[in-house]
């Protein structure tokens, strides 16, 4: 069990960032998030990953839905699409279909992904679209000022559940595993180094990679997914965990009380781009 970690403020990291050259990937716009929001660590992790991997800035597209989290594309200096609520994945699929050479990263919140956008995830995973999906899980609707999300804990009081949320949350990792996602991992905004490492790995994976990022909403959730609680609850996946073993991954994912961080599952199989080429070949055509 790790020790609670303090919120990460961008300015604290500024020197370090400048020295590393990661500033290249930051846009002119400063994030408009609340001070202390977990998302700062994610944008930081992302630019770090881009830097480490040397991703050409004009060959990458960040695609988001709508939410605090989905403001993300404005804060990195890559191509970006701020789509509609819940639609990052199908737009990303279209982009990747049009141009396989692009690095495509979809980002969004828990409401964006598991409420309104819930129908698209299984299909992106099934097709093994070669994109990375970073899901920012603060267990609440931040942008609309604090309603329950499908990942809110039982008992959470929100503006739409003033008498406490009576429903148990969905289990996103089990869902993604059942969808056949070819890379499934979990990170926590309060563990920035691990987070960066996971983002890098997720982008590096060839196929559909899903990284679930626990991240406190310091403004609208003071009781559930806080830095203190998450710091106390999260754990590492056991050393012995085999990312090739789907049932072991499912087993680990079952534990929502003590979310384990790390790579749950990885598999290599043809991507959507590969299957397009396969179909073209079978038809007797050749790629243009």
């Amino acid at each position: 069990m790790s020790i609670p970690i303090m919120p990460v403020y961008v300015d604290v990291k500024l020197r370090e960032v400048q020295e590393s050259g990661r500033l290249d990937y930051r846009s002119r716009s400063l994030p408009t998030w609340c001070p202390g929001c977990g998302y700062f660590a994610i944008v930081e992790g992302m630019t770090h990953a881009c830097n480490e991997m040397g991703i050409p800035r004009d060959q990458a597209v960040v695609v988001s839905g709508i939410g605090c989290s989905s403001r993300f594309p404005f804060f990195v200096d890559l191509y970006g699409v701020h789509t509609l609520h819940g639609r990052a994945l199908p737009v990303a699929t279209g982009i990747k279909t049009a141009n396989d050479r692009l690095t495509v990263i979809a980002v969004g919140g828990d409401g964006d992904g598991f409420a309104i956008g819930g129908g698209h995830i299984s299909h992106a995973a099934k097709r093994n679209v070669d994109i990375t999906y970073l899901l920012f899980d603060n267990g609440i609707y931040g942008l609309t000022k604090g309603q329950t999300s499908p990942l809110s804990a039982v008992g959470l009081k929100t503006t739409t559940t003033p008498f406490e949320n009576p429903e148990r949350p969905l289990n996103p990792l089990m869902m993604l595993l059942s969808y056949g996602a070819s890379w499934v991992g979990q990170a926590y905004a309060g563990r920035p180094d691990h987070l960066r490492e996971m983002i890098t790995q997720a982008i590096a994976h060839r196929g559909f990679s899903y990284l679930h990022i626990l991240s406190p909403c310091v403004t609208f959730d003071k009781t559930s997914k806080t830095y203190v609680n998450l710091g106390l609850q999260t754990r590492d996946l056991p050393e012995s965990h085999d990312p090739g073993d789907l049932m072991a991954a499912m087993h680990q994912a079952q534990d929502l009380d003590h979310p384990a961080l790390g790579l749950y599952y990885q598999q290599f199989r043809p991507t959507l781009g590969d299957t397009f080429e396969q179909v073209i070949a079978k038809s007797g055509g050749s790629s243009s």
Partner: protein, 598 residues
Amino acid sequence: MNATDIQIAICGSAGDGTIAAGDILRNAVAAAGYRVICFDVYPPEIRGFGKCISRLRITTEQSYSLKRQSDVLVSLDDSHTIPHAGEVRDNGAVIFESQPISPCAEGEHMSGHVLPGQIPYGFPIRELAQKATGGARSRNLVVLGFIAGLLGLAPASFQKIIEKKFAKQGPKVVARNQAGFQAGFDAGKGSFKLDDAAFGPFEKPASAGKVIMLSGNAAVVQGCIDAELATFFGYPITPATTIMERLATELPKRGHRLLQTEDEISAMAATVGAGFAGARAATATSGPGLALMAEMLGLATITETPCVIFVSQRGGPSTGMPTKTEQSDLNAALYGSPGDAQRIVIAPTNVEGCYRCAGKAFEMAERYQTPVIVLLDLYLSNRYETVTLAASGPPFVLDANKPLRRLEPGEVYKRYALTADGVSPRAVPGDAGCMHVITGLEHNELGRPNDSAEMHTAMSRKRHDKLQAALEHPDFAVTKRFGNTGRVKVGILAWGSTFGECLEAMFMAQAEGIVCSAMKVVMLSPFPTKAISAFMDDCDAVLVPEVNYEGQFAQLVQGVLARPVVRLSRVPSSPMPVELILGEIRRLSGVTASAIAS
């Protein structure tokens, strides 16, 4: 006129090969050089023995719609055909089975329903099929042969088509069907000809170019291919499905990509994604799917992303009538997305137009950076016509993007630069140094969120004004006037598939001495205000026939021009009857029905 103009209707139940017979017939006469227009009616049931009718009009010059009355009616199932006896003209032919398997009550046999003045041709269809092929399955081919023999069509083009159509099923099946055809042909040729329908001498049309026969949806596909569509995303829905199905075969062969998505929201989303990435991208759907695309279409409008949406209308509202035609999705196409979300909407009026509009839609989407909806309907999607493809190759511009100039050092790329024509040079991912974010939020020239009064006003203006240029889009007629020029008693203003019927009605009215014209309106948004206004200036009365209940196009015309039109809005679950339009023309021109009758 010595020209050919024969309409044949084949009627039977779903299991009789009715539609297949129509298919062979239309291909054969087209191959022989005639022009055809055909429309099949299917039963709405999943399976079963519902009524099918295949109607073909065969002419020397391309016609615009089916005729009200057929010259030849063929019955493959008397119970279905009897109610249609009335659609055969005087001295027209009715072809039917003379030896039904079981003796049937008089009222149930076709022979008892041929009207006075019509010529009955009963012959032993089943028996001939049995003899020639050893089974009754080829009855439809026997009948085809009979028609060919009777009307004097050379069998060669039929034989070729039969060969091609059944090749996959092996030589036995081909042989069986050829034998059936031949048996029918011999019988037909040997029949004593009483009716006056016959094929005129065939003259090779003067126009250069390749003549092919296509359904509306096949023409759309051809347009897409000739415009080099690179990515297609779709979800099946009647009557648009066949667009995707054909593309599923054609695109891969050309190295292009098609994805069947999980729903219409994703189909539209992926289309926008691919459009953003710089590829020509399209989807196709019908009313229910269009509803689901409404939100994403708004995103395409505000982000100024090129994309093309084919919408083939069927009966509405809601699931409505999936196998019946209607023109009731115009409002949704024009206004379905919340906010001031204008887009280009074009509607072809015939199959050739489907081809042109499909190809041109990609040009327009790119040039004006906007979603373009191509509005079809079941009648247009499913009907077949002969189409002439220009010998000079596809008439489409393959890159209609505004050129992007290289950035000065230190210059920041402005995706939404306010320019004179409202169109901003567009960079796509991969373009060096032009990183930007597109968003559904109102934004400034850089694309950054900005909701000031000034910016919102400027951007709203830009998004609307830039589309006006589409009214002058090169090599594209947004409206076209037919019939009398100058002042007319009645002007018909029509859109979409109904225009064919309007034109037929206009010709008939002119033949009766009524001075009238018809204007087809192909571009519905932006609205061709000037052209339509000028047309209305010439008309004593303006008639707007359309197949919907609310008079959606009439409402649009009045909404823009604040000038009254006469609505002829009907929902007959089928194309607008020509005589209904003709009746209105007469009424408006002051000619009474009795005056005509006398």
